[in-house]
């Protein structure tokens, strides 16, 4: 029940296209859903996060869509650029617990 399942494991998108990465969870107590971005040779860094009181959060070209009833959330990258090529991790936690439960990661490649 603590798992976060992330798909796909890898993704290739043409420059300018939309990249979509999906995550599903089981624990209904989760109330914080961040996405982290990791470039080669670097640690992950927070990209965008959402709490379940909203169904969507947008920051620039990055959008989280959240479906509470389906227990799913997804990251959409609009107008994908080669500089977006990285590994993306979804995660989940409860407000009372500082531990994050991590998805397995998606390696995204944007082809020029």
């Amino acid at each position: 029940q603590q798992q976060v399942k992330q798909s796909p494991q890898s993704l290739i998108v043409q420059k300018g296209g939309i990249s979509i990465i999906n995550c599903a969870y089981e624990n209904t107590a989760f109330d914080y859903f961040p996405w982290y971005q990791q470039f080669p040779g670097k640690g992950p860094a927070l990209l965008i996060a959402i709490r379940p009181d909203v169904s969507e959060k947008k920051e620039g070209r990055f959008t989280i869509s959240f479906n509470k009833s389906a227990k799913q959330f997804s990251l959409h990258i609009m107008d994908s650029q080669p500089g977006d090529s990285a590994t993306y991790f979804c995660a989940a936690s409860t407000n009372s617990n500082y531990q994050l439960i991590w998805g397995a990661g998606t390696k995204l490649i944007i082809k020029p």
Binding site: Q6, Q9, Y32, P34, G41, K42, G43, P44, A45, L46, A49, F89, S93, N95, S96, N97, Y98, Q99, L100, W102, G103, A104, G105
Partner: protein
Amino acid sequence: DVKVTQSSRYLVKRTGEKVFLECVQDMDHENMFWYRQDPGLGLRLIYFSYDVKMKEKGDIPEGYSVSREKKERFSLILESASTNQTSMYLCASSLPSGSSNEQFFGPGTRLTVL
């Protein structure tokens, strides 16, 4: 800017050696974490600490120990390194729960055990 530094970017050790990985954060964060990252497995929590001298096991603590003698420093110890501990090790820090769950990561240490 929050800064989390790790003592080595790359480390090569022999089987059976005792290995120390050091992590220092400069933001006065209470929580510190050690993860290992392997392809297809994501980030797996080894140990975390929510205060000086306090530690709790994560999902994969076997073969590892930790030390937190000062708030800013969290060390991961491999008592007797084995080849299956070859991995990328990531340290992170965060504020206490209830404030922000954002974790700030160091650049990682790629450990190879021969």
